[in-house]
Symmetry: C2
């Protein structure tokens, strides 16, 4: 127990994005001669529980004198009742910051170094500034294959891990950047129907208009604890869960937040992030989809190939059977972009609806086929047709329905009632559709927080259109967000869709 | 005027350290379909005033639904009354972030690039994460001499500048890291008494136990606007002002905050920072003191020499007459560490008190002499003795007194009444005193926020002591901070003072 000063603990309802932040009134800082300064680290302790946080200074209207505030997550982590007396004392910076300095200076780190850094990150001991310095150092100075491996192992170790009693546990991952690329629920249904064990965990959106978990959540409950996952997978071979509920490789989420805020994608960090999640989820056989195209993480085939090689290298070292596929990422996939709109596409494919988007169907069958081959559920060269039979027969839909019922069925929410249509201004043929601009329009319209918001893309590249035909429709749940999205569209429409 | 949604503006009493932060209730984010997400940038506007801020999410007890909060500085910057209706709309990231990406990728930036980045930093358009990415990129990839020059010019341009009608405007700067190195008030008094124009602006502590402005503030008011500075300098040739009150090179302060939080010192950024401040303050002739020793910014003579060369290079290009001196930075200077304790040392030197710390007196005379020679107020080789005559004659004290009266006299506050003595545990000779540990003890005792807090260092390196003799005394203004400082001392005393 630290022998510090006694202050009264107050929960402050500010979400500081996993940084432990403590709040102290300015009058306490100066008037009570506490020997503390803004941005200092303090240790807060009570009942043998303790937490280190970065000190922010507030005024009397936010926090009374004699109190110490904690941001929401830090408060929950400490687990001491609001209003309790706690001990507050200065704390030194985590020792692993020295290792961060080494990385910053261009020196490679070892296995133990990464364990210490990751542990301090997960415990919230790094401030946002320090975490950013780690991410930028790793981006500029890079991580060699050994370092990437050690970071991955450290991230796996510092979270929970799912374990399945099977020699083959299947998984798939598509690298982001392509709006509407929602193959996961389809592939999972096909694979589970084929008898593969596929306990699928997916993420929510960080900056995209929808993560797989956001889309699936419009169809069923995705917040499953490990026991529920084990139970459902035992019954149906597969599930469609949100990975965040089972705390897999939590350091990764924090690193990704910083990367997205900076709009940077360090290859090493991305590879490490993806495979750490797969390994922690218990996967043994993994299909990895790398879409190549403008606005994706692999803008050129060359980058795609280099990524492929690094994924294979790390996968091998982690003991994963991994098949990496470069796919066409030059434009959005399917018609819907946004949780409910994407869910509708998924249902159309699963129900063999003649209006189902063929590109989404085709890509799902291709990836599912590769997964069946990788796991020897199909002989080489027969994977796609096996997958197609399972889909066409209705078995995939049936499997999906059972998983949906077990997880807890949701009905797809209504699409936003505030809409704006974008029509072709002249006759012509679509040449390019920009992934990033379409994503941004869907986000401004409210996706994924408003599940009925997004973009319905009526046309794809190479489609011939007549003047006045619908190109896309923006759906929003309020006039304000429709205005934001529509204004952004108008400012960027020339780059968004190029016609000849 | 942006055509966004209307929300009611609320000032939130949180000091976010120059990052513009907007707060929105979680219920507003999800319930009202605003199309905004945590960490998004929003533009807030009213009455033709506008500001871009990063969105943080809070709960209902912090901010009511229908309101938008702004952190204290951002609120002041916007300048719209609390409770006003404001327009809130999504804003895109500042365009200069593309340039930041270039620097991150190792590409050099040009003059215009630095202007745009510095402008966005000063306007608070960079989040802390983005500012950190800039600082870390500049640290790892470095800035070449051209880039350092352009960054410096951009920082000067983006703040206020003092202008004096004189061919010679003197200034001095000591690089930090040596506790008690408080030569500035002494040198300024000597130089002004010698007839030199020396409008001295100094900084407050960022992480040290006292900045020059903190120490001088215990003796006189230092918060002088430009007009006051011009007036006082006209009358007395010199002043001792806090630079922060005149907004010189404000980007620099924000960069320094990040560097200190990370405990990194990028040479280029430091050089740029120091000379931008000097140039913006109107200096033409500058003495630059680089203390060399453990715990300083120049740990070795080699680093000191490299710094010297870069300072001379940039100084020349900025049109400054600059003389760079490497000095002994191996241990603290003077007896006092902390605002009031340092002020007492300064007064002792100025009053020719026989108990004045000789090291502080000697270093001040040396630097003052160099300044007199650089500005041709003394012939070469005679600077130190000229300075000594001015000090010994009482003219420096007289000058100091007049400046003190004009700025507004303060009486030195009482030293903290909670003290702890550290005595020699055995007979011996002091071999080393660790700058960093002594600084940290003074900080934990409350310096500089509690001006009477700090450390009185009774002995220096090479002093012979008997068992039981006073080595140092810690002063604090409360029992709690004395406990923090004393505990840190006990944990680190072996490394802090090494005896033989």
């Amino acid at each position: 127990m630290v022998d510090g000063m006694k202050l009264r603990l107050k929960r402050i309802g500010i979400d500081t994005h996993r940084e432990n932040v403590a709040f102290l009134a300015r009058d306490d800082l100066t008037g009570r001669s506490l020997g503390l300064h803004p941005m200092d680290r303090v240790e807060i302790s009570a009942n043998a529980r303790r937490l280190v946080a970065v000190l922010n200074i507030v005024e009397g209207n936010v926090l009374p004198v004699g109190a110490i505030g904690l941001s929401t997550e830090a408060f929950d982590k400490l687990g001491v009742a609001d209003g309790s007396l706690v001990d507050v004392a200065p704390a030194e910076a985590p020792e692993s910051l020295d290792l961060l300095h080494n990385k910053l200076a261009g020196q490679p780190l070892n296995s133990n170094d990464f364990e210490r850094i990751v542990d301090d990150i997960v415990q919230g001991r790094y401030s946002k500034v320090e975490l950013t310095a780690f991410v930028v150092s790793a981006t500029i100075n890079g991580l060699n294959n050994d370092e990437t491996m050690w970071l991955t192992e450290a991230m796996i170790k510092d979270g929970d891990q799912l374990k399945f009693d099977s020699a083959i546990v299947a998984d798939k991952h598509s690298i982001g950047g392509v709006p509407g690329n929602r193959t996961t629920p389809i592939i999972t249904s096909i694979a589970a129907a084929a008898g593969l064990l596929i306990p699928k965990t997916s993420s929510r959106s960080v900056t995209s208009p929808a993560g797989t978990a956001d889309t699936v959540e419009t169809l069923m409950n995705v917040e499953l604890q490990a026991e529920r996952i084990y139970d459902i997978v035992k019954k149906e071979n597969g599930c469609l869960a949100w990975g965040g509920a089972v705390n897999l490789a939590p350091a990764d989420d924090m690193i990704i937040q910083i990367e997205h805020a900076l709009n940077i994608d360090a290859q090493s960090l991305m590879i490490s992030s993806i495979l750490a999640k797969k390994k922690a989820a218990g996967a043994t056989h993994v299909i990895l989809d790398i879409p190549v195209g403008h606005g994706t993480k692999a803008e050129t085939t060359e980058i795609g190939r280099s990524l492929k090689e690094r994924f294979q290298n790390l996968g091998l070292r982690l003991g994963l059977n991994i098949r990496v596929l470069l796919t066409d990422g030059s434009q959005p996939i399917g018609n819907g972009i946004g949780p409910a709109l994407e869910a509708m596409d998924v249902i159309k494919v699963l129900t063999n609806d003649p209006n189902a988007p063929m590109d989404l169907r085709e890509k799902s069958l291709y990836l599912a086929g590769e997964l069946l081959e990788l796991t020897a559920k199909s002989i080489q060269g027969q994977g796609r047709s096996t997958a197609q039979q399972i889909l066409a027969s209705g078995k995939a839909l049936e499997k999906f329905g059972r998983i949906r019922t077990l997880q807890g069925r949701h009905e797809i929410p209504a699409l936003g009632s505030h809409t704006k249509d974008v029509l072709a201004e002249r006759n012509g043929q679509l040449r390019t559709i920009d992934n990033r601009i379409v994503s941004r329009v869907a986000q401004l319209a409210g996706a994924p927080h408003n599940p009925g918001a997004g973009v319905y893309l009526a046309k794809h590249v190479n489609d011939v259109v007549d003047k006045g035909q619908l190109l896309l429709r923006i759906f929003a749940e309020s006039d304000e967000s429709l205005t934001f999205a529509a204004r952004y569209w108008v400012e960027n429409s020339r780059a968004a869709i190029v016609m000849s």
